[in-house]
Amino acid sequence: MADIKADELGTRVARDPSMMTGGVPTKEWMDTEAVFKPGNYCYQGKPEVVDYLRKELPPGVFGPAHEWDIESDDWNLPDNWKEIIVNGLKERLDKFRSLKIFMDCCVRCGACADKCHFFLGTGDPKNMPVMRAELMRSVYRHEFTKAGKILGRMAGARPMTFKVLKEWFMYYYQCTECRRCSVFCPYGIDTAEITMMGRELLHLVAVNINWVLEPVYNSSRTGNHMGLQPHTLKENVEYLCEDIEEITGVKITPSWNRKGAEILFITPSADFFAEPGIYTCMGYLLLFEHLGLDYTFSTYASEGGNFGSFTNNEMMKKLNGKMYAEAERLGVKWILGGECGHMWRVVHQYMSTMTGPADFLEAPKSPITGTVFENAAATKMVHISEFTADLIHHGKLKLDKSRNDHRIVTFHDSCNPARAMGLLEEPRYILDHIVNKHYEMPENTIREKTFCCGSGTGLNTGEIMELRMRAGLPRANAVQYVHDKYDVNTMACVCAIDRATLSALMGYWVPDVEVCGISEMVGNALIMDGEKEVRETGLRFEALAGSEGDADV
C-alpha cells in the first residue's frame, strides 16, 4: 500500500464516504451497508403502474403498490415482507432447478470476479459476480441449509433483514444480465438468472424501478414501450417513409395489421420513434421494398423488446405471448424479428417452453432464396441479420457499398444476440458486403466476450447517467482503441438498447464515433429500383463520401 497517507498529505480534503456504496468499506462485506444517494439509484415505480400490473397478473407476483422513498430507512413495506421474500425464494428454488444449482455449486474460484463491467468501472467488490450471487446465497444458506442454520455467519449465512433488502436493490440493479461472467464460469453459473430471481423477489414486496415498470405497463396496455397508439405508430412510420422518399426517390407504403401476409415483422418500438433507431427502421423498410416482401407490421405486437423479462417470468411470458397471439390472429407463416437484444434471449432461451410450441406457424422459409431456417424451427422467428446474410449469400441484393464510405466501422456484439443466440458471424458477413472498411475491437472485448453497453436490463435511464458511464468504460475503452488506430467513426450493433445507450456512452468517452444499426447501412447500400440517379445523403441526411450535397449533418 501507499507510503504516503492522506492525513500526512493533507490534500484529500473531503473525507466523507464517496463510493457508490457509501464509502471505501472498512468493514466485512456483510456489515457494509448500501447507501442510496441521488445518482446511484433508479427512481421507484409509480404506484398506479404497480397497481395496474398487480391486477394483470396472478396474485402475489407484484406486491401491493405503495409510496416509498429509496433514500429513507423506511420503505413502507408490508409487515410480513421478510416472510414473503423467504417464501418466494423457497418457491423459486423448487420451481427453477437452475437457481438451486447456482446457489449450491459455486466454488469461489474467482474466474468471474474481474469480468463484470460494473466491477471494472467501480472497483466495488459487490459488483464481482460471485459477490452479487453471494448476496442471495447468504440468505439461502441461513434459511435452507443445515450448515447455515447451525454455523450462521461462519458458514457465510445471514438472515433476511432490511439492510440485505437494500443491498439486493442496489446490486440487482447494477447488473445488466449481460452474462459475460457466465462465459468464464467453469460451472456455467448464470449470474443473469440470479439477478432475475433477485428482481422477482423484490417485486413481491413492490420494490422496483419505474424505468422497467412503465414500459412493461405500456406494452401490456398498448403494445409497445412508449404506449404509442396505433394511429401514432403508423404516422411515425409514414414520416420515415417520407424521409426515405426524399433521400432515395422511392415511395414505400408498408402494411399494418394485414391478415394473410406471409411474414409478421416485429422490432423494438424504439425503432419507430427514437434516434438513431429510426434510421435502422428506414433500413428495414428499404430492404423489404427491395425484395417485394409480403410482410406486415402490427400495432398490437409493436414491441420486440420484453422488459417483462426484467421483472418476473410471468410478465415476460405475457409480453412474449402477445407476439405469437398476433401471429396466429393474422395468419402469417412465420415471424421476422428486427435488431433487438433481449427479445432474442427471450425467444431463443425461454419462448419454446414458456409460450410455445408455435405449431400454428410454419418453419421459416425465405420466400426469396428458399432457405429454411432450421435453427428457428421451434420459435418460428428469424433474426433480420440471419435473413439479410442469407440474401447476400444468394446474391439477391443489389448493393453499392461505396455509399457507406463515409463510415469506418467497428462491430459491437450486443450481449444477448452474441451470448444467448450465438449470432456472431451474420452481422460481420453483412458488413463485409456493405462497407469497405470495418475493423474488429480487441479479441477479449468482442464475440462471446463482448462488453456490455452498461445500460441494459432497464438501466438506460437518465438519473443514473454517471453509473452508466462508468459501467460502459470497458466497452468504450475498446472503441477508443480502434478509433485511435484505424480512425473508426461508427460503431454498428444489432440491439435497440445499444443504439440508444451507446450513443450516450460514445458522447462521453469517444465523441467522434456514431452508433448505428446494421440495417441502416444495408439501407444506405441498397440500389433500389426507381431510385434517384444520385443519392447524396445517407438515411440520417448525412453527406455521403464525395457528395457535394447540402446535407444536414
Partner: protein, 183 residues
Amino acid sequence: MILREALAENRVIIAEKWLDSILTSYHEDGARFFKKQKDRFANPLGYNARMGAERTVERLAAGEVSDLPPELVQFIKLRAVQTFKPSEAIGFMYELKQISAKVCGMDLMAANFSEWQAIEADIDKLALQAFDLFMADRELIYKIKLEEFKSGNAGTANGGCPSGAVLRKHNAEKIELKVIRDC
C-alpha cells in the same frame, strides 16, 4: 537540473508509489486487481492510472507540463463519473509533490530549493489542468443527459407520446449547448 535528473532517475519508483496512493481511493479488493491485471482491455481503469502516472512523471522530469498524457486524461474522465467529490477526484495530483520529495530525498530538495519550487509550480499546473478536465467532463455529462432526453428515448417511462412531427422538430434544433454550472 539536479532535481529533474533525480526525478528522471527515480521515475519508475515515483510512479509506482503514486499509483499505489491513487488506488487507495478504491476498495482494497478492487485496488489489488487494478494494480495486478496488466491487460489494458481487461482493466482499463488500472491501465490508464498506471500509464497516466508513469507518463506524467516522465513529463514532469522533462519539464513538459503543457498538457496531460492521454491516459491520465481518460482516468480523470472516469474519476468524474465515479461519485468522488471534486477534491477527492483530483486531489491525487498534489500527492506527486510529497512522493517525489520523499523518493528523491528531503536533503536534496533542501539543497536545491529554488529548483524544487519550480517543480512544485509545474505540479500545480498539471493539477489545474486536471481540474479543468474534470469540470469539462462534468459539463459533458449534463449535455449528454439533455441530448438523450431530446432523442426520444426518455419518453419510454414518462408517459409521453410525441408525434413524429414533434420529434422531428426537436431533432431539427441543433442547439449548441453551453452548460454553465458548477458541480
